[in-house]
């Protein structure tokens, strides 16, 4: 039987199930197939902080959303076209996000009386009329899987567990995805258990075949590959890109990387990834606490390594005193903050942009620190190198603000040619710099960068002592002299203010927009998608995105003042807006929602339109 194939330009799928149903894996595999096929894509995993919340409950629902298209896209999508609901909880938790007319594929086997009542369903929504405004495909995924695996040497439990692969097979048929990658993946994943591998591959195939034969699905869909720039691509998450960026920074700096870190969601994957790359001379140190993580990184920097610590907001709070020591001792250090919802423990797996002011000011004394923020998952690679460049060239701690959305979201990444990467190497001091030719002045600065010499232990003749006590300008000896302190406070600030950062570029296609939409960090995708929609609706609007937050690009004030209105969406209560207002006296209009989720394109398009149309 040949079914009709319908062309689509883009699709948003959400896989939802219990934490133990393997939804993240299913989503990852569908993403890999989609990347292999050549679509542009963007993903949004959304999972509870609990590893296994009680089965079948609303807090236990884990989901993975994927947006793929035949053109370049910017976000994981606002509203799914298809929801795969592995149980009643998954249906209930996600239905509100589903537009009328969207497809629902529900695993009928899990819609038992007990499971329904667990989430407060009085009746079975698959059997009453409550879902009549959607296209419901009621599929007994579990029992079909178990049936397909009869005759395989696997337990009933293992057979049931393969239901996610059945669902993946069905969706792969529905959207004409290539399947070889998943087969190879399953063979490799279960290499030690060939029977399990065979069963999962069979379940995957059975799902595909089911789609082809069942009457529930009359059409399948095709989304043509996107026209991306030529090159070799891979799909990459923000945490992976950040880890690779740090390895690349180490190579490009010709310095060994030392990571001091303490496990914390959503940053731990960077530690996991870097711990695999010891062949690059990468030393990873899982410390006893956040303070020891950054302390060890700073100690390694003193010894001539590229010292890095990775954490999330609660960890940054604990590291503050050591970051202050790095400011005072003027040693290179990269602090990666994968921001999450706060305050306190907050919502560890949910995203937010609420650590900006802490990164800027969260230390005692006048303690300026450069702050950077990547715009997309793949941009984490470039910004990790940029953070290392600034840290090394200016001998300063640098805050790199990723977030949960960037960390776990993914997108295709054109793999850079190594020759394209910047050389960020710096020279260690090797000879005394005093006028007498024998004295070493550890705080005598470079005239251009104001950086002090980096003399590492093992260098004869440059023995010196540094510390957190105020130092005399030049000699670095302890000094309580009032004028010296004033000079040092100003010098440390001037060094950071003088960091060379690229100008802010503005996207203003008509050149006469009156409204600028400004953003920073992970809001890039949703803002750009919102701007596109506003433009498609006939509005003139300019867009600019800050990746350097301290110091700001030199032309920032000029850009802001060139527009009648500046709209600044942030997933906080207006932290960058506060900085810009204070610095430039520009009446920035904030749009602030702090839901633990990225903005939606439609939401921002509406806000942009309202700002344009308001007086």
């Amino acid at each position: 039987m040949t079914k009709q194939v319908q062309q689509l330009d883009r699709v948003i799928i959400r896989f939802a199930g219990d934490s133990g149903d393997g939804m993240q894996l299913t989503g990852d595999r569908f993403t890999a197939e989609t990347a292999q096929f050549g679509n542009d894509l963007s993903t949004l995993p959304n999972f509870p902080a609990e590893i296994r919340a009680p089965a079948g409950t609303l807090p236990g629902v884990s989901s993975f959303q994927l947006h793929f298209a035949d053109h370049d896209i910017l976000t994981p999508g606002d509203a799914p076209n298809v929801l795969v609901a592995m149980n009643p909880a998954a249906l209930k938790a996600n239905l509100a996000d589903l537009p009328r007319g969207a497809d629902i594929i529900a695993n009928t086997d899990e819609f038992t009386k007990r499971n329904l009542s667990k989430v407060g369903y009085a009746g079975n929504p698959l059997e009453d009329d409550s879902l009549k405004e959607w296209r419901l495909h009621a599929v007994p995924l579990t029992s079909l899987t178990v049936k397909a695996l009869e005759g395989f040497d696997v337990s009933k439990k293992d057979a049931e567990r393969a239901k996610n692969m059945f669902a993946l097979g069905l969706l792969s048929w529905l959207y004409n995805r290539p399947t070889e990658g998943t087969t190879a993946f399953l063979e490799a994943k279960f290499a030690a258990k060939p029977e399990i591998a065979k069963a999962n591959i069979a379940a995957f195939q059975a799902g595909w075949n089911y789609g082809e034969t069942t009457e529930s699905f009359s059409v399948s869909y095709e989304v043509k590959p996107a026209a991306l720039a030529p090159g070799v691509y891979r799909n990459i998450s923000g945490n992976m890109a950040l880890a690779y960026g740090l390895v690349a920074a180490s190579v490009q700096a010709k310095l060994p990387l030392f990571l001091g870190s303490y496990p914390i969601t959503p940053a731990s994957d960077i530690l996991h990834e870097l711990s695999k790359h010891k062949a690059f001379g990468v030393r990873t140190f899982q410390a006893e606490d956040e303070i020891a993580g950054v302390g060890a990184a700073l100690g390694a920097s003193f010894g001539g390594s590229l010292g890095v610590t990775t954490t999330s907001g609660p960890g940054v709070a604990l590291k503050a005193e050591t970051v202050g020591l790095a400011v005072a001792t003027e040693l290179p250090l990269v602090i990666v903050d994968v921001q999450r919802a706060g305050p306190s423990t907050g919502m560890p797996t949910k995203t937010e942009q609420t650590d900006l002011l802490m990164a800027m000011f969260g230390r005692n004394g006048e303690s300026p620190v450069p702050v950077l923020a990547p715009a997309t998952p793949a941009d984490c690679f470039d910004m990790a190198i940029e953070a290392a460049r600034i840290a090394l060239a200016y001998r300063t701690p640098v805050m790199l603000l990723s977030d949960g959305y960037l960390a776990n979201g993914s997108e295709p990444w054109r793999i850079p040619d190594i020759a394209e990467l910047p050389d960020i190497s710096v020279e260690f001091a090797t000879t005394p710099n005093g006028e007498d030719g024998t004295t070493f002045l550890p705080f005598q600065r470079d005239a251009d960068t104001l950086a002090r010499p980096w003399a590492v232990p093992g260098t004869p003749g440059l023995e010196h002592r540094i510390g957190g006590i105020e130092k005399a300008d030049g000699s670095g000896n302890i000094s309580y002299d009032p004028d010296n302190h004033d000079r040092m406070v100003h010098l440390r600030q001037a060094k950071i203010d003088g960091i060379d950062v690229p100008d802010l570029s503005v996207d203003d296609p008509t050149g006469d927009a009156k409204v600028l939409v400004l953003g920073w960090g992970s809001t890039y995708g949703p803002i750009a998608a919102g701007v596109r929609r506003a433009r498609a609706a006939g509005h003139k609007v300019a867009q600019a995105h800050l990746r350097h937050l301290n110091p700001l690009p030199a032309n920032t004030g000029q850009v802001l003042r060139a527009y009648d209105k500046v709209l600044l969406p942030e997933i906080n209560l207006g932290q960058l807006a506060m900085l810009l207002r204070a610095r430039f006296l520009v009446d920035v209009i904030g749009y602030n929602r702090v839901r633990g989720l990225p903005f939606k394109a439609a939401e921002l398009a509406t806000v942009i339109q309202e700002v344009i149309e308001s007086d």
Binding site: A35, Q36, G38, A229, P230, G231, V232, Y233, R234, N235, V247, A248, P256, F258, G260, H277, K278, A279, F280, G281, V282, R283, F285, A287, E288, D289, I291, A292, G295, A296, L298, G299, A300, S301, F302, G303, G304, S305, G307, E321, T322, G324, L325, P416, I418, F428, V456, P457, G458, T459, P460, G461, L462, E463, H464, R465, I466, G467, G468, I469
Partner: protein, 369 residues
């Protein structure tokens, strides 16, 4: 200093030719000098600013006159400290040094020592710095066996903040913050270090330079974490805290000198005492005359089981009845930097040196033309 020297730490060994135990395990990777050094070489040009009469002066002089004996290149020695009176120590030594923040010296030194096995790294800390605010870092540095020599100056008081009780102050201590007496039971730093299974644990005293230097010599020779508690007098806020160990009238009666391979006996004349196993599983002090030689405990610093060393550390409870001085434990196990660098070497041997292009192109990739 080249990057390769930092990266391939296990290969960057000094020439390490023989000068007794000093050239052994502890300093084998630290480059040596042929140039004769003196105390003067290790004095910095900074004015020493402790209170007149402070025990820190004696310790500084002992360290400065001891360091030349090691024969190490001065530039490969680093002193790292936290906060407190003792933590000013690095400023007075003409080596590399970091005066860091309160309690964190072991953490900072861990990063340095783990990435630079060619350095001799010393941590200078006090009872407040190491045992209160920095207690966590101390125990973890010890259990990891990071290649550090940790000198804990114990004066049983907070000096730099002008006289509050410390985690080693005796119960009932009257201080500015405890006008009715302190309530908390003190830490015994030796017991704590042994509990963390530190490989090298010793106690010495500021006033006995010979003993102090002897302990430092052994600590330096030990590769891995060494904890040396140094009783240090604060003549301003806690004067004479250790007087019983110094006063000729009492010192011989309470000082239990621990010497490897020797029966543990102390005291003089009719008051001579011995240490033997107690029926309760610890050790006890008995009159020498009351026990047979065979019953007297013979001190073994190399005993892999720390239980006996721990029991000896408890002889000082209640404080200053009998105070063991010397090396409690000296047991070899691989140091953290050694194990870490072996993993690097193993990874390089298995995969070859990392290829950035190979890494970035790993996993599922696709070509767009």
């Amino acid at each position: 200093m080249k990057v390769t020297e930092i990266r391939n730490g296990n290969g960057a060994a000094g020439n390490g030719s023989g000068n007794g135990s000093l050239n052994g395990r502890g300093l084998a990777l630290v480059p040596r000098t042929e140039v004769k050094q003196t105390l003067k070489d290790f004095k910095s040009d900074q004015e020493v600013r402790w209170c007149p009469g402070c025990g820190d002066y004696a310790i500084l002089a002992a360290v400065q006159s001891f360091l030349p004996e090691l024969g190490l290149k001065r530039e490969n020695i680093v002193f790292v400290s936290g906060i407190g009176c003792s933590s000013r120590f690095p400023y007075y030594l003409n080596t590399y040094g970091i005066h860091s923040i309160h309690g964190r010296a072991p953490a900072i030194a861990t990063g340095l020592a783990a990435s630079r096995p060619d350095l001799s790294v010393w941590v200078i800390t006090g009872d407040g710095d190491a045992l209160s605010i920095g207690g966590n870092h101390l125990i973890h540095a010890l259990r990891r066996n990071v290649n550090l020599n940790i000198l804990l100056f114990n004066n049983r008081i907070y000096g730099l903040t002008k006289g509050q009780y410390s985690p080693t102050s005796e119960i009932g201590k009257i201080t500015k913050s405890t006008p009715m007496g302190s309530l908390d039971k003190p830490f015994n730093p030796i017991s704590l270090a042994l509990g963390a299974e530190a490989g090298f644990v010793a106690r010495t005293i500021d006033s006995d330079r010979k003993h102090l230097q002897g302990v430092l010599r052994e600590a330096a020779a030990h590769r891995g974490a060494s904890l040396v508690e140094i009783y240090q007098n604060c003549n301003i806020f806690n004067d004479n805290a250790f007087e019983a160990l110094k006063d000729p009238a009492t010192r011989d009666e309470i000082t239990v000198k621990l010497e490897h391979g020797q029966p543990i006996v102390f005291g003089t004349g009719d008051n001579e005492k011995a240490v033997r196993l107690s029926p309760t599983g610890g050790v006890e002090v008995v009159r020498r005359a009351d026990v047979a030689d065979s019953e007297i405990l013979v001190h073994d610093v190399h005993n892999p089981d720390p239980s006996l060393a721990f029991a000896l550390s408890r002889l000082d409870d209640p404080a200053f009845e009998h105070v063991p001085i010397g090396i409690f434990r000296s047991v070899d196990r691989p140091s953290y930097d050694q194990l870490l660098n072996e993993q690097l070497d193993t990874a390089i041997a298995a995969k070859g040196p990392g290829s950035l292009a190979g890494l970035l192109n790993s996993g599922d990739t696709w070509q767009i033309n």
